[in-house]
């Protein structure tokens, strides 16, 4: 594992702020669901309830529970409690950012090349391993995936220009 980044010990976003954020996001989600259901109609037609009928009431449930959670976030959470320390969040982002780039690359490069890049970058950057360990791991894992999925179980995985050049 990597060393904890120093200096940021004991500070971070408050748990209360995150709770409030989640509750507000729930409410926004509820409004979207209710709006979408209203678009297709949530009342009864001649042949029974219309398509928006069920999601409309689900939306109302989300709205109410979101409102209760928002209220409780304001009343029940002490300001001092941290959601996580900045150092911890940096660790989380160290996964989220490469992973997000990875899933964005998959449609363009295919899953094999992107996986080689992800494993290499991750091990090199976060694990601080030498290339003698990084290179074999990054190359062997996609090859094993290729053999298991495409050859044994005949499940095709996304491929990019490089695989096309190689004739797959």
């Amino acid at each position: 594992m990597t060393k904890e980044p120093g200096g940021a010990f004991g500070a971070g976003p408050s748990h209360r702020a995150v709770e409030i954020g989640v509750a507000v996001a729930t409410i926004v989600f509820a409004l979207i669901v209710i709006g979408g259901s209203a678009q297709v109609g949530f009342n009864w037609a001649s042949d029974g309830p219309r398509a928006g009928f069920f999601p409309f009431y689900i939306g109302l449930f989300i709205l109410v529970s979101g409102a209760v959670n928002l209220f409780q976030a304001f009343s029940a959470f002490p300001r001092e409690r941290l959601f996580a320390e900045w150092g911890q969040l940096r660790q989380v982002l160290a996964v989220v950012v490469p992973a997000a780039i990875y899933v964005a690359l998959v449609p363009w490069l295919g899953i094999y090349v992107s996986s080689i890049l992800l494993i290499a970058v991750f091990m090199r950057w976060i694990g601080k391993y030498g290339w003698s360990l990084v290179a074999p791991t990054a190359i062997i894992v996609p090859i094993v995936a290729f053999i298991v999925f495409e050859k044994w179980f005949q499940v095709p995985l996304p491929k990019g220009p490089i695989e096309e050049l190689l004739g797959f």
């Binding site: 594992m1 990597t2 904890e4 748990h15 995150v18 709770e19 989640v22 729930t26 989600f29 979207i32 669901v33 979408g36 259901s37 678009q39 297709v40 029974g48 309830p49 398509a51 009928f53 069920f54 999601p55 689900i58 939306g59 449930f61 989300i62 529970s65 209760v68 959670n69 996580a84 911890q88 969040l89 660790q91 989380v92 996964v95 989220v96 490469p98 992973a99 997000a100 990875y102 899933v103 964005a104 998959v106 899953i111 996986s115 992800l118 494993i119 991750f122 091990m123 976060i126 694990g127 391993y129 791991t137 894992v141 298991v148 999925f149 179980f153 005949q154 499940v155 995985l157 996304p158």
Partner: protein, 513 residues
């Protein structure tokens, strides 16, 4: 008299079916599939970030080319393996590989620190096995009866069963009720995106073509449980500092000689586990509850937490019994008792099988093959884990910065193969970040996943019932059967209030005496 004779004949038929099932499972290919499944499952259970539910979800596409029976054997064996594997990390590393093995760390890890890792692991594995066996026997006896009974269900009763399942989530979960409701209802809303099956109309897509097929719950499972778990592990920045363990036959037999002393704890934990598994509360609360009760009742209760073998027996038995029992409502009613059971149910649908009472009539071979594989899978599992502990502990010593990107790649492959769509891979990432935040804020994820799985069916039965009654909600109280199911649902929903009120009444009564 005729009735009894009928029932006798029914039981004979079931035993015959079970033996046909054993015949199916004992085919060489299926035994191979079973061993591979267990090994994969144990590895999944040991690795952080890969759990039973998302492990099965990722490997589901591998089974598309198999026959449904071989496929379900493989997937359910992965599940048994994951249940066994969780104990290894708890005992040796004090890190629960799965949420249901948290309670196992309380006494399991202290035992390992005292140099009794072998005893702790043997006790854990054996208890798991006993719990599972108890639950499988229960499934064998009860599932056909439940299924036969459920054949009488109309849409209102079907909705009643869903209602009961979801209400027990709200009433039983440790999370705040409104957070449970919010998570669950978000799941229902996600399930309703896309084509409405009854009117053929598009809804909640807001013009985005990528939303047309709706949200697949497998993507949600892989994201919420897989990616979310990796993020949590990164945040905790955990280091694996484990005890080593070798299990030699002498330790195994010594422990086995000691275990019968705790038969009462075992039996109690089996019952708790089965109960909690059938009602969709799941393995995790079952293990905590069983540990808590054992601690209160046992003579050595005060020593719990310092490495008491009974403190390993209780949670492991209950967790495994609950994990297994969760398949009972999945098979007989089509209502999964846990997220992993939900993923297995999704598998059944993909293989073209309709879970629920008709399965017992139309796909007998499949059902009894699965039940037979539960017996054999757990025996094979016990042997494998007892012999492979050193190898599995070695896997855990691989640093997380090597494991994490590999798990990410596996999750991406799993998400892609569900519909061959790269959009799903991105969606998985979104679910992962959302899952991390929700988990940190104490929103339960299991009801959300179950709602995504069951949303369409719950909605269909709800709307069909209302169609029959011209929109009157009274249809859910229209006869004794549906009324009883709905009433049970309400009791489950308000259970926290009912139990505190009951405790108060009892306290007042004792005060008077």
């Amino acid at each position: 008299m005729k009735n009894i004779a009928d029932r006798g004949r029914g039981e004979m038929e079931e035993i015959a079916n079970l033996f046909t099932g054993f015949g199916t499972v004992l085919q060489p290919f299926n035994i191979l599939v079973m061993v591979v499944g267990i090994l994969l499952g144990v590895i999944i259970g040991v690795l952080p970030g890969l759990g039973g539910a998302n492990g099965v979800a990722i490997l589901l596409p591998l089974t598309f080319s198999m026959s449904p029976t071989s496929a379900i054997i493989m997937l359910s064996c992965i599940y048994w393996g994951a249940l066994f594997g969780g104990a290894i990390t708890s005992v040796l590393f004090n890190i629960p590989g799965e949420p249901w093995s948290v309670a196992t760390t309380f006494d399991g890890h202290p035992m390992a620190q005292q140099g009794k890792a072998g005893e702790a692991l043997t006790a854990a594995f054996t208890s798991s096995f006993v719990g599972a066996l108890f639950a499988v026997i229960m499934i064998t006896l009860v599932a056909p009866l439940v299924a036969a009974f459920a054949l009488r269900f109309g849409p209102a009763e079907k909705f009643g069963v869903y209602f009961l399942a979801f209400c027990s989530f709200i009433g039983m979960s440790k999370e705040p009720p409104f957070k449970t409701i919010a998570a669950m209802m978000i799941g229902f809303a996600l399930a309703s995106v896309g084509l409405d099956g009854m009117t053929g109309q598009l809804r909640l897509t807001f013009g985005f073509t990528s939303l047309l097929p709706g949200f697949d719950f497998l993507i949600a499972v892989i994201g919420l449980f897989g990616i979310g778990e990796i993020l949590l592990t990164m945040e905790e920045g955990l280091r694996f500092k484990g005890r080593s363990a070798v299990i030699n036959p002498r330790v195994v037999f010594q422990t086995w000689a000691e275990l019968p002393r705790y038969w009462m704890t075992s039996l109690r934990s089996c019952v708790i586990g089965c109960w909690m598994g059938v009602t969709p509360a799941g393995a995790t609360p079952a293990s905590f509850m069983s540990y808590g009760i054992a601690k209160r009742i046992s003579k050595k209760g005060k020593n719990f937490g310092n490495g008491e073998i009974e403190g390993v027996v209780a949670p492991e038995t209950a967790a495994h019994a609950a994990g297994t029992a969760a398949l009972l409502p999945m098979l007989s009613l089509g209502v999964p008792g846990s997220p992993t059971a939900a993923v297995l149910l999704g598998g059944l649908l993909i293989w073209g099988l309709q879970p629920g009472p008709m399965l017992f009539v139309e796909n007998k071979d499949f059902v009894w093959g699965l039940i037979a594989s539960m017996y054999l899978g757990n025996i094979v599992g016990l042997i494998i884990v007892l012999t492979c502990v050193p190898m599995l502990a070695a896997i855990l010593r691989i640093p997380f910065s090597i494991i994490a990107p590999i798990i990410l790649v596996l999750c991406a492959i799993g998400a892609y193969t569900v519909h061959n769509s790269t959009f799903d891979v991105m969606l998985m990432m979104v679910f992962g970040v959302v899952g991390y935040i929700l988990k940190k804020c104490n929103y339960p994820l299991a009801p959300m996943v179950l709602a995504i799985v069951l949303g369409d069916k719950a909605e269909e039965s709800f709307r069909q019932s209302l169609l029959g009654s011209q929109g009157s909600l009274a249809v859910f109280w229209s006869n004794g059967l549906v009324g009883t199911i709905m009433a049970l649902g309400l009791i489950a929903l308000f259970w926290p209030f009912i139990s505190t009120a009951w405790a108060r009444v009892r306290a007042m009564a004792t005060a008077k005496i």
